[in-house]
Symmetry: C2
Subunit: 375 residues, 2 copies
């Protein structure tokens, strides 16, 4: 097996569970949040810092790396791990989401998708087979199938067709996937339609994959509808395999995702808002550029033991961001990823001590109150 | 004494010397290069990285910190060291150079200078006394007097008047300087005129300061003229006190500066060019964004043992810079500062082994050839 997943603990009151995900590179305790390293780096940080803050698995993006610098040169380095000097594990997204969301889309047909590069306008053709081959070359621990992601809102007919195509593409992906040390995960689609989600999950499980992602959520639908959809979908997935909720990273949604049985998550949210001065704390989001922090000698988060909170004041970090100093966003990025990693550690601890349900009932409403607003 | 300087070794053939500069924070081996941390951070790096690459003394800028975030809030942190969490030593520039070079200058008179902020257009008045008081509040280990820097080229009469004012201001600065644990350095001016440089140095030495800087060089004059001016000026300075050449940081000029008896240097060059993709190597400058490096698996500099060169390829760093990833300029900045620190270490070693003259004669022409061109 390319990756091994072992369930450790199941919550008796909810669908939450903890586990160990083992790749050729390391073992990741789940539930876990994956920092996003789209272009061969998590924006602003070194791999040493990622390791230091506790990340074991990061996300790379095949679409972006294919367009720049090209997969060939990464393969000549021995793969993405050695290109970026990362000792942990890597999951690569296929690029399906980007092809359908970044514009420049020319044509979608059963064979594949034609799109133009957002960098230089050049034309490219991506098929399920090619997406797998490119990820084989990148040498990630986990590859994702090419899928067709529907927007929200979308008509039932449209979403239904995207689900069928996603299933056909998943089957072709599986046949094309040759690299034994790499796992291939499928992606469940179906918008917010219960029967489509169930059908998508069931047909992918029938084909059989190393793990299952839930895509096409957190694309604009209300959060309650996202959680409902999640609950329908998870029901259809094999309990002993990894479940990955794509594009979710706010503290409240992470807790809800865990509650519905999700094991891994990724999202640009913590790093993107950090570059804009927005940080996560035990009292909610804090926009550090606000003038009220100009003379604030306290750390970003009083309860945080990360090196940023131990060594720097809000006034200093605000000054750095105002002066457009790079160190400012390095510090906020580090803190936000540390914050989410600490949250996931707390969740795992609650699971291991058989008190997740209480943690969820007490922390859930609090996190929803603090973080449930505009992301 | 606020800082202690002890000469260790003098070159028998040139004016070069090595020494130890002791502040309340640490001991710096000289000759040394100071990374520039204008706004309370060396652009792109953390203080841990500065320590790791061997920096013991960095430069802060009173003018910039006065305008943003203001000296008051830094004082409330206990000074610039704790504001930025730097355990080493800090030299603060008075802001004279910035007032005279950044525009927004309204009026220069004997009392002081009126200028407008480049940030918000607000009006400010800086006097020698105020520059000292602000640096007292910043708590730097070494403060600089407010001086009047002449441009190049400039008329003799103009430069002569600036020298006289610089001397009067230096005297007032000394009277205003009350903080015992902080040294106050004077700044020799005089353009490229031999008698003005000598007169400036002599009158400042007569007043008596903790160290002497040479300002108003590297402002556009030919390098040979800079070195000639340096030789005249150094002659007038007390041999047992620190000499600081301001604004010089190319490898060839550092070696020449040492040859003429300079102990410390600062310059934005290594960090500024790094952000633009230009790195220092044993084969000269290298513009890493050039397409020729797109498939180059070798490190920035084959002979360098810094973590950047040990862990990353030119192709990877080029990709990061092209993709506008922050990590790219972090890596090039680190490498350039490491490179200069290694150069200074080699120079100190040559001095300690009584072979600086040979080092200078062999490395000098090589560095001039490699780095003597456009900075």
């Amino acid at each position: 097996m390319a990756v091994k997943f072992a369930l450790i603990k199941k919550c008796s009151a909810t669908a939450a569970r903890s586990g160990l995900l083992e790749t050729g590179h390391n073992v990741i305790e789940t539930p876990a949040f994956m920092p996003v390293g789209t272009q061969g780096t998590v924006k602003g940080l070194t791999v040493d810092e990622l390791e230091q803050l506790g990340a074991g698995l990061i996300l790379g993006n095949c679409y972006h790396l294919f367009l720049r610098p090209g997969v060939e040169i990464i393969a000549r380095h021995g793969g993405l791990h050695s290109f970026m000097n990362w000792k942990g594990s890597i999951l690569t997204d296929s690029g399906g989401f980007q092809v359908f969301s970044l514009g420049g889309l020319r044509k979608v047909e059963d064979e594949g998708v034609e799109f133009t590069s957002y960098i230089d306008g050049s034309r490219h053709y991506l098929t399920p087979e090619r997406a797998v081959r490119l990820q084989n070359m990148l040498g990630s621990d986990i590859a994702m199938v090419l899928d067709q992601c529907s927007p929200y809102p979308a008509e039932y007919e449209q979403v239904s067709k995207a689900v069928e195509r996603t299933t056909r593409w998943a089957e072709r992906s599986k046949h094309a996937h040759l690299r034994e040390e790499q796992a291939l995960f499928a992606i469940v689609q179906g918008g917010v339609f219960k029967d489509l989600r169930r059908a998508s999950a069931a047909s992918l499980v029938e084909i059989g994959f190393g793990g299952y992602a839930i895509g096409g959520l957190s694309v604009g639908e209300p959060k309650d509808l996202m959680y409902e959809t999640l609950s329908w979908t998870v029901d259809e997935l094999p309990p002993d395999q990894v479940r990955y909720l794509m594009g979710v990273g706010s503290p409240d949604a992470l807790l809800e995702g865990v509650r519905w049985g999700i094991d891994i998550f990724d999202c640009v949210l913590p790093t993107r808002i950090a570059r804009n001065g927005r940080v996560m704390t035990d009292k909610g989001y804090l926009q550090i550029r606000n003038s009220v922090y100009a003379t604030d000698l306290s750390p970003l988060d009083e309860n945080c033991d990360c090196p940023v909170c131990r060594n720097y004041s809000r006034a200093y970090i605000r000054h750095l961001l105002n002066a457009k100093e790079i160190l400012g966003l390095r510090l906020t990025t580090y803190h936000n990823l540390y914050y989410l990693n600490r949250l996931m550690r707390e969740i795992r601890k609650a699971l291991s001590e058989n008190r997740f349900d209480r943690y969820y009932r007490e922390e859930g409403p609090k996190l929803k109150y603090l973080y449930g607003g505009a992301d």
